[in-house]
Subunit: 415 residues, 2 copies
């Protein structure tokens, strides 16, 4: 069974915004065994939307539409749905009451006819209540087929999807099982891995797909099994996976844990009741920002000193000037001192420090662009590592943050 | 003249990655007067890719394809292009030499046949040299139509697009002019604005489109004019814009500046030779991270103290415990002290401070979730503002960062 996603909005097609809704919807559908066949972004234009709807209907059983539900003239999704379903708009009293209550609570301007018109919905649509906004979601059935229309505002869409659309889909459709397993490797490129696992790839059962996901210098192998019998899928994934371990066990670093690295680290710290603090130079606060993006981070994250300037490293982080003169500001010695000092200053169990040159211009050091040091201090001592991370500023920072969190994870596991 | 973008990869359709390439490509095309009609994401599946190519060809003159150029079996773009163009793969010696040199320089494993096969390209394709990777870009003409295939790795694609594809497009096609103008408003919602500017919307010339872009509680109005005669477009935009000022001049806060707010602030600080430092609580380092994402930030960014824990505010930022007891940690008084102290401690011209509760759980304060204070300290004094930012953690942080940078921008302009 396939779904398709149609995102509506000129702002997507001129590149003014990145469509993040599709990935969220696809990921959620995947978890309940529904595959997305195609994602299509179209203009705020009735004939174009109609074409996309017709094509999606010819390929998929469930069609998602996001965007175009605002109160203004460039928002034409509801009128287009009426034309598509040969339907007319009627006023929904429940939606109207919700709009009026939102205005009373949050909006200082008086409610207008344009606002009230957001309560107009196709007569055949079931309403999906939008907790966070005035545009309702809509669920329209056509035999075994379903069309779901949601607002394009990400947090409104996410709430609707999670609390209303997914439960309705689970109830309506018998879905196949989908099982993923992701194996992480290190040290070899895509093609070298492909050569070593050719025997596995050539004999994959039809219900299992293998994909290579290269990212930040490492390749993850993702196995996806899909079918009606869960046991068959599990057995198949287990066999293929065991064959992979036979062929490339020496370069497998583990299997992907649930969630992002910052969530994994956060859970470990919470479970072990340990705390952390960071002293960031070239990562500019990004480790801290990533750590605090996890709800509940205040339980284990004490704080961070972003010491971009060398003077900050000396005055606030108390790194001896002598040390900087002798080894330069981008050095293992300075990284180690930064990690130890921030741990002490912030009274944390772990001190994480980064120093390096992300380019494009050279900073306070003579090191070539891309040279970075990362240090983790704990009561067991300091672990410092040097890396060469290429010459692409954004990627150097991304890689640095990821590497620091990986090193931290390893250290936490020693406690 | 229309372009379309086809992004290839199962990882997009299961929601494992967000497609950021399309927005970049669309934005770049827009700047040179080429509109994107549709963006389509399809699976790693030959018949599906062929269908998408055929449909795109029927609608657009330029078709971009990203992804599916890796060395492994799930990468099938080149074979599919051969089938589409009735072509065969031939070995390109220049590409082969490039692959071999990349391996020699950066990769420790020996080069294999699979790597060498990345030098196989459709015989009709012009090669676009990929500075950062082994998969070449390809340019295939079919009469007045062009198909461009690029790798899916964002930084490889961006380099190819910027340095090779755009210049070739500019040379090949006579393009219409596209002019945008974005007017920023405050204080009114979409629908209230729509009512007030109905007269302008009802009489828009055919070559101008008006879009409402609500974001972080404000609405931007984007005017887009498209046509062959630049003067006509400019005159049209000027007239419509002046009519808008007549109708809603009281709620217009300005016109959109070039670039992101962090780039605008960075330029202002550089020009005025001023520096800044931040003390971040609920924003968790995100202001600092955003500021340092701009190349050259070391010229004006001294550093940041992320003081998530109250103890850090006291011990390191030297906020008097007395003040916190009296007013609570989420208060105007504490925000002001944080901003003044960080300015002093870091010896910066501007000190920026944030304190608040982003939820979901209450932290060290009794303030309701969403209550935040932002302060900017300079030699002219301290500006503190209180905001209520809803109850959505990610949005509270985003809004807080944006608001802090806006307040900073305003302060810098006083110097």
């Amino acid at each position: 069974m396939y779904a398709e996603i149609i995102t509506i909005g000129d702002e997507i097609l001129i590149g003014q915004i990145i469509d993040t809704n599709s990935a969220f919807i696809a990921n959620e559908l995947n978890k309940i065994g529904i595959s997305v066949y195609q994602i299509t972004s179209v203009q705020d234009d009735k004939p174009h939307i109609l074409d996309a709807l017709k094509e999606a209907r010819s390929r998929a059983q469930i069609v998602f539409i996001t965007g175009g539900l605002g109160p203004t003239k460039d928002d034409i999704t509801k009128h287009t749905l009426c034309e598509f379903f040969n339907d007319t708009l009627i006023r929904n009293e429940e939606v109207l009451a919700h709009i009026e209550s939102l205005f009373k609570k949050y909006i200082s301007t008086p409610i207008s006819d344009i606002n009230r018109d957001q309560a107009l919905v196709p007569s055949k649509a079931q309403i999906l209540h939008n907790n966070f906004g005035t545009a309702p979601g809509m669920w329209m059935e056509e035999g075994e087929r379903v069309f779901v229309s949601m607002p394009g505002v990400p947090y409104e869409m996410k709430d609707l999807m999670t609390n209303q659309v997914l439960p309705k889909l689970v109830e309506k459709y018998k879905r196949p099982f989908i099982i993923h397993k992701t194996i992480m490797t290190y040290g070899l490129g895509e093609s070298a891995i492909a050569e070593r696992i050719a025997a596995v790839e050539d004999t994959l059962p039809g219900f299992i797909k293998l994909a290579y996901l290269p990212n930040l210098g490492k390749v993850r192998l993702r196995l996806t099994a899909k079918g009606q019998e869960k046991e068959v899928l599990e057995k198949g994934i287990k066999e293929v996976s065991s064959n992979l371990y036979d062929l490339i066990g020496d370069i497998i670093s583990g299997e992907e844990e649930e969630g992002t690295i910052e969530a994994v680290v956060g859970k470990l710290l919470t479970d072990k009741k340990l705390t952390m603090a960071t002293a960031e130079s070239f990562t500019g606060g990004k480790i801290s920002e990533q750590i605090t993006s996890v709800p509940g981070a205040s339980a284990y994250f004490v704080g961070s000193l972003v010491c971009y300037a060398t003077s900050t490293k000396v005055d606030l982080l108390r790194v001896p000037e002598e040390l900087i003169r002798k080894y330069s500001v981008v050095s293992a010695e300075v990284a180690a001192a930064m990690a130890s000092n921030i741990r002490e200053i912030m009274k944390a169990d772990f001190g994480i420090a980064t120093t390096g040159n992300a380019g494009p211009a050279k900073g306070d050091s003579e090191s070539p662009i891309g040279t970075v040091y990362i240090a983790i201090a704990s009561e067991k001592g300091v672990d410092v590592q040097k890396f060469l991370m290429g010459n692409h500023r954004t990627r150097i920072v991304q890689k640095g943050v990821h590497k620091a969190l990986e090193m931290l994870q390893k250290e936490i596991l020693k406690f």
